[in-house]
């Protein structure tokens, strides 16, 4: 399961999609919208994706992870649109025969997603807005 959605992510369905009789572990990463950035109060986040390429890049990350670790299944779901504090922009679930691989692979997937997948977030403050990471 590799998806971009503009609706709330159903976390239980993402987890269910990676269940496997061969798995001894499922590691789940849930990204959540934090209320502050560098001490400044965040009101909302606006996520935008170049969807076809985001899907392609997420699929590449999944394929690389499958080469590096012994993995049963991986799910990556990212949300786009306006999100409020506490909302969930991303869920990653990895099932593996042994738990260490699930932790390591899940961390690899979220770390690489943040570096390569064409998704952008704008932080909206009470007094303005800024594209995250745009400037050094």
């Amino acid at each position: 399961m590799v998806e971009i959605t503009d609706k709330p992510i159903k976390i239980d369905e993402v987890i269910k999609s990676v269940t496997s009789e061969n798995a001894g572990a499922i590691d789940v990463f849930i990204g959540t919208v934090r209320n502050k950035t560098k001490g400044k109060t965040v009101v909302k986040l606006d996520f935008e994706a170049y969807e076809p390429m985001a899907i392609t890049e997420m699929q590449k990350i999944v394929n690389t992870a499958k080469q590096k670790w012994s993995i049963e299944k991986i799910a990556v779901v990212h949300r786009v649109g306006l999100l409020e504090i506490g909302d969930v922009p991303v869920v990653i679930a990895v099932s593996t025969p042994h738990r260490k691989d699930s932790f390591d692979a899940c961390q690899f997937v979220i770390d690489t997603l943040k570096e390569t997948v064409p998704i952008w977030k704008k932080e909206i403050f009470e007094d303005g807005e800024v594209w995250v990471s745009a400037h050094p």
Binding site: G31, Y50, M53, I110, K114, V117, I119, W120, A134
Partner: protein, 80 residues
């Protein structure tokens, strides 16, 4: 030749549009196009990085553009 420029995030804000049909020199390389872009929109220079994709694949600086190609400006990504 003509290229179809597609813009997202802060690049879209800087240029003021999400799509633009552009006339460029035949056989232009990505790094030449990048220089042209920065010259026209100096705010692009302040970004942490600018990458490019053609269609849905990242391309390197020495990629040679072709007529009618879809060129996507990828400003620093910030998903997750």
């Amino acid at each position: 030749m003509t290229i179809n420029l597609v813009l997202f995030g802060i690049a879209k804000d800087i240029v003021g549009t999400s799509r633009s049909l552009l006339e460029v020199e035949d056989g232009m390389l990505i790094n030449e196009f990048k220089q042209k872009l920065v010259a026209e929109y100096p705010k692009m220079k302040d970004l942490t990085s600018i990458s490019f994709a053609v269609g849905t694949e990242y391309v390197e600086d020495d990629y040679q553009l072709r007529h009618n190609e879809e060129v996507v400006i990828i400003p620093p990504v910030s998903g997750g």
